[in-house]
Subunit: 198 residues, 2 copies
DNA sequence: GACTTGACCGGAGGCAGCCTCCGTTTTAAG
DNA sequence: CTTAAAACGGAGGCTGCCTCCGGTCAAGTC
């Protein structure tokens, strides 16, 4: 994974330092004001010029994808916890909840995520991670279907969309946690096989 | 309803003309590029200066609310059709579908609608119409619950949120109609009482 | 330790959109 | 026709996006 040692020249020290500073500043700004944060402000807080930011991350999506990388690893860790459950139904439920939290990391995150799925061109650095999440969701759905806990008509993509939607509503700030819980319950009773196991 | 004749001065002719031109231009732009359209471009197309647009509609939301007024009347008309059904379950279903279409009028419309519900201050001209739609949805839900076609735990606001969400996903353009149909089915089987009438 | 070289940096600046002041024009009324 | 209030619209300040391009700095060389 780390085998990049094929260049004659060693990577410059300031490059990595700047990149790290940019990522940190970007994360702070995204947390405070959402994914629409001013990139110039991010650069200034990182102590670099605008051009340096754009050289490291050509688009807002590229910066966002790099910042999300950290959180993405948390998701993988969650998957290992979930794998210990054994119960496919509970696993699906917890995975959907983890997805929703991931999508809620920054205000306004759902928009670029949906845009990344729309544009099938791979120039969007968010497309690949999104496709992986969709595939993973589908695996959980299939497992739950095999165990008879999910309707056969449901696809992983559907529940992925549902999770993004809930995150979008949560991020819009118009709704209290109680309403969100009712919405989650509605979705759950929508995909569950209704043989009523408990 | 039209009794505004209490001013000594007749309203100026150019005011109404400009207002109409602005609304028409705004609708065209909203349809073409979404609610984020450049207001300067709208003003230019309407043949007025930027200041005139802002005098008539102090905020983007005010302009949006005025443009939506027309569509809102269509929704009222739909309600009359729906009232003829008699079947509370089918009425709720059709109302939700009408809501979703209304929310899909322009790309990006769901965002300001959610923001209008968030800010409880009445300075947002979208807040009032939204609250009315939520109340109407709740009436349909209650009727369906009385007929035993909807779970008692479901609130009108929940299904309002669900309709906005579907419209948001549709507007993001990342999804084909087939996926949207599965999503709608998921929501429906989520709020329906499961005694399986058909 | 000084030199070379190429990768890297960052400020300046063009562009677009938002919004507002204020001098000018239009309009209804007398 | 005169008048005065109401409305108009261009100019301009502001912010953010993104890109040149001349200067700078670090890695490798002697």
């Amino acid at each position: 994974m780390g085998a990049k040692g094929q260049q004659g020249r060693k990577p410059r020290a300031d490059v990595q330092r700047n990149r790290a500073a940019l990522l940190e500043a970007a994360q702070r700004h995204f947390l405070r004001v959402g994914v629409g944060a001013s990139l110039e402000a991010v650069a200034k807080e990182a102590g670099v010029g605008p051009a340096t930011l754009y050289r490291h991350f050509p688009t807002r999506e590229a910066l966002l994808a790099a910042v999300l990388q950290t959180r993405s690893e948390e998701l993988v860790a969650r998957q290992e916890d979930i794998a210990l459950l054994g119960d496919a139904s509970e696993a699906l439920r917890q995975w959907l909840r983890a997805l929703e939290e991931y999508f809620s990391a920054f205000s306004g995150l759902p928009e670029p995520l949906m845009a990344a799925v729309r544009e099938r061109e791979p120039d969007n650095p968010l497309t690949l991670p999104c496709d992986e999440l969709i595939a993973t969701t589908d695996e959980y759905v299939r497992a739950a279907q095999l165990a008879g806990h999910a309707r056969p008509s449901v696809k992983g993509y559907d529940l992925y969309l549902a999770a993004v939607s809930v995150a979008w509503i949560k991020g819009s700030g118009a709704t209290d946690e109680e309403s969100l819980d009712r919405l989650r319950a509605l979705i759950e009773s929508g995909y569950r096989e209704q043989d009523g196991e408990e």
